[in-house]
């Protein structure tokens, strides 16, 4: 049996959010990932973030590619539609879904193999298009499902569990995201829930392409001494630059739609490093390059564009979802066709 539904029993005293949902309403099936896998902590953080934001579970859609990371959507938001697509191609499928129905919130879940190797092109182009989504890469520097090969984010010189040394330069997803025009760029760590939940919440509130590189150690293949993606290494080198606070202006009575949720909460970014300006893209790139070179794992919400827009704004699409437009709004009809014929004689 490879699919385990969770029992639907609720603790009578389980806290409920503004929509009357408990945390259990945001959970999914029982995880089949390895015990202690960082990815499960990310799933838990997503559950917590959606609960705290009072999002209606069915107004989110979760999409993924292939790999350990891409199994994650099965383990959260069981009441949401999910799509486990093909390796490295989640971004295009998500883009299409978003174009069809702009009224949902989209969670793109990917991994370092999925996004930095086979799917590097789609990663890049979905960010530069500004697709409104939260794009989270659970980054462990290794291929887990195929048993421990290096991925493209493994650092040069990093040894595998069996002692082979990676000689290739790593793909820097954060650096790429900044270059490509992502309007929200963050790095989290699956071992730091206090930091990760607010990052995910802020990403879900962001009106454009929000990218989170979440270091998520692989306990089976990449958590050993010498690895730069192990729990110990990240804990030892974590350098958080920001903290996120949420201000909640008075809510409207219904607040059931994610749009309402978006409007109601405002993320405020506080620098933890004096002078760190989260809106200054060039300064952020410079900061990351300098501290990365010194071996620091810079974390937190790193960059937010002050004027983020999304693909729908660029394409000037109508406000209502395209998938809800009816025949008469789409089909020009018989008279228009007569006119068209006449122009061809």
């Amino acid at each position: 049996m490879t699919y385990l539904a969770k029992p639907r029993l609720h603790h009578p005293d389980a806290p409920v959010n503004a929509l009357g949902y408990t945390r259990r309403d945001y959970e999914g099936a029982v995880s089949t990932l390895c015990a202690g896998c960082g990815h499960d902590a990310i799933s838990a953080a997503i559950v917590e973030a959606c609960f705290e934001l009072d999002l209606a579970p069915h107004r989110l859609a979760k999409l993924s590619g292939i790999g350990c990371s891409s199994k994650m959507p099965t383990y959260f938001l069981g009441a949401s539609h999910g799509f486990n697509s093909v390796h490295g191609r989640m971004p295009s499928v998500l883009t299409g879904a978003n174009l069809a129905n702009r009224s949902l919130l989209y969670l793109g879940i990917s991994g370092d193999g999925d996004s930095a190797s086979i799917g590097l092109g789609q990663f890049a182009h979905s960010l530069r298009r500004g697709v409104h989504m939260m794009y989270l890469v659970a980054n462990n520097g290794v291929y887990g499902l195929t048993r421990g090969q290096f991925s493209a984010t493994a650092d040069r010189g990093s040894p595998s569990r069996r002692g082979a040394v990676n000689t290739d330069e790593p793909v820097d997803l954060i650096g790429l995201a900044l270059l490509l025009g992502a309007t929200f760029v963050a790095r989290g760590f699956s071992g730091d829930r206090e930091q990760l939940v607010p990052i995910i919440k802020a990403a879900l509130l962001h009106p454009g392409a929000a990218f989170i590189d979440c270091i998520s150690p692989c306990v089976a293949f990449n958590n050993h001494e010498g690895s730069t993606k192990s729990f110990d290494y990240v804990r030892g080198h974590d350098h958080a630059v920001t903290r996120i606070e949420f201000d909640r202006p008075p809510r409207t009575a219904d607040g059931a739609e994610p749009d309402g949720g978006n409007g109601a909460l405002v993320a405020r970014v506080e620098p933890l490093v004096p002078g760190y300006d989260v809106h200054d893209r060039l300064a952020v790139m410079d900061y990351l390059a300098r501290h990365g070179a010194e071996g620091a794992t810079v974390t937190g919400l790193l960059y937010v564009a002050p004027d983020a827009q999304d693909l729908h704004a660029h394409l000037e699409t109508v406000d209502e979802p395209l998938n809800g437009l009816r025949d008469d709004a789409l089909c020009p009809g018989t008279a228009a066709l007569e006119e068209f014929n006449a122009s061809l004689r």
Binding site: T2, Y3, P57, L99, D319, N323, L325, F340, R345
Partner: protein, 610 residues
Amino acid sequence: MSGVNDFVVQFATVNGSGSASANRLFARSVLRMGVPVSARNIFPSNIQGMPTWFEVRVSEAGYLGCRGGVDLLVAMNPETWDHDVAGLAAGGYLLFDSTKPLPRSTQRDDLTILGVPLTALCNEAFDDPRQRQLFRNIAYVGALSALLDLDVAALEGLLSEQFRGKASLVAPNVRALQLGREYALAHLPCPLPLRVARADAVGDRVLLEGNTAAALGCVYGGATVAAWYPITPSSGIPDAFGRLCRRYRVDPATKKHRYAIVQAEDELASLGIVIGAGWSGARAFTATSGPGISLMQEFLGLAYFAEIPAVIFDVQRAGPSTGMPTRTQQCDVLACAYASHGDTKHVLLFPEDPHEAFEFGALAFDLADRLQTPVFVMMDLDIGMNEWLSAPLTWDGCRRFDRGKVMTAEALDKGARFGRYLDVDGDGIPYRTYPGTHAARGAFFTRGTSKDAMARYTEDGAAYVENMERLVRKFETAKGLVPAPVVRPARRPTDLGVVYFGSTAPAMSEALDLLERRGVDLDALRLRAFPFSDRVGEFVRAHTRVFVVEQNRDAQVRSLLAIESGVEAERLVPVLHYDGTPITARFIADAIEHRLAAATPGDRRQEVVR
């Protein structure tokens, strides 16, 4: 040589020289005189400076296929002069720019040489260098108007329609037209025995390019999401879709768009976007050609197995690999029919002309939604990039989109049982929900891995087989939904048949007439879709020999018929034309006649006519 309303004119020019609109002007003026024309661009994969040809067939009998051979050559390209002159039929006419003397290499003495000093005339009349070049083209149309007895009022009318609102452009164009015309009237034997006489053979037909027609089909079929990657010869479809959407799909109040077009980073992303949109309940398409089909294979398997609607226009060109990007073929049939790894089968539609490209273009969205699967519209360069004289486009005002089996929130509230892959109706087609439908019910996980009827991941062999068998049932259901084949029986009973499809249609109908005159009777069946209707197998079995005419090397549809219709391959005799030019009636008729004379059934050495 003589011929009223029955001849072929070829314009040999250099691409980028502005000849295309002059050539179109010529073709349309013949049409305005009530005489059917077909016009084809023959061009290299290049933007400027390479040879290009435009061929206009004038046929009052209404034969619109490529005929083969040229009766009148407008030779404007010195580079291809020898080749072009050699291609002229015996006793043909050669119109050339006599500003320079006739090239010495012109050896033929059977031709009527018609010299018009186009460059000299235009240099004298116009100052602007660009105008001097462009108006040479209009000037040769003017000369042709005198030589072929064209209605000059029709030409002038077309020019003023073309430049409506730009009156300053009409006058110099008309002047250029008159320059050529007056010179020809004064110096050449006008009209030639080869000429156009007013007739009433066009009716209400329209001159329309297949790519534009397909794009209009997408508009009428309710497509809202288009994702594509530029590739010849299909780019005209998204281009036209954008143009048509700006005309028909802008919200009058807000000026916002009821469509989204994304030029994707590659064909993989194009189809991914289409699949994501289809999953979410929007009608979506991509347009591509052979290399794009190769790149889309993995996603096609996902859409087949996860059962997601998608519409793919394949405007076929000569393969394999980059092949001949600007030459036509029907060479992707098998690649599309069985696209992707594992056991798959896909729905294919074969439009015969732009009229059907429109019709099938719109229908493809209904079929994709109804069948929850990819649907291919198998066009080719000949249909896609040429203007064909087609029956006018029609649309039933009462027609509504068939969105297929979609479970709504209301149905879920009433307690309807929902299992994404449950075959509740026995037709192999399950119900689906769009994301975001209901707060508590109807959500499911879409995946390319094996799943049970409730969409739960499973590697249980029995559940896998059950699902795969249901997909076969669904494909059976498709047989009854796709366009049925069209049968044209011979006038006399015959045990010979012919099967054809797509852009072969006009050449085939002419070939059938030719063969009938030569005493060969053939019942003809035009395939319009795959899966094949049972009538296709019945047709083949009712004949001892059936020619299968196609524009590829490997007799792909013949193979498909042998595999999928349960007919003996021995009955199916391939007739194959695949040099990249459109198939002609002469080729088909000669090939079939040759085979009947020479071959015994089953003699494989004789099976391929090249």
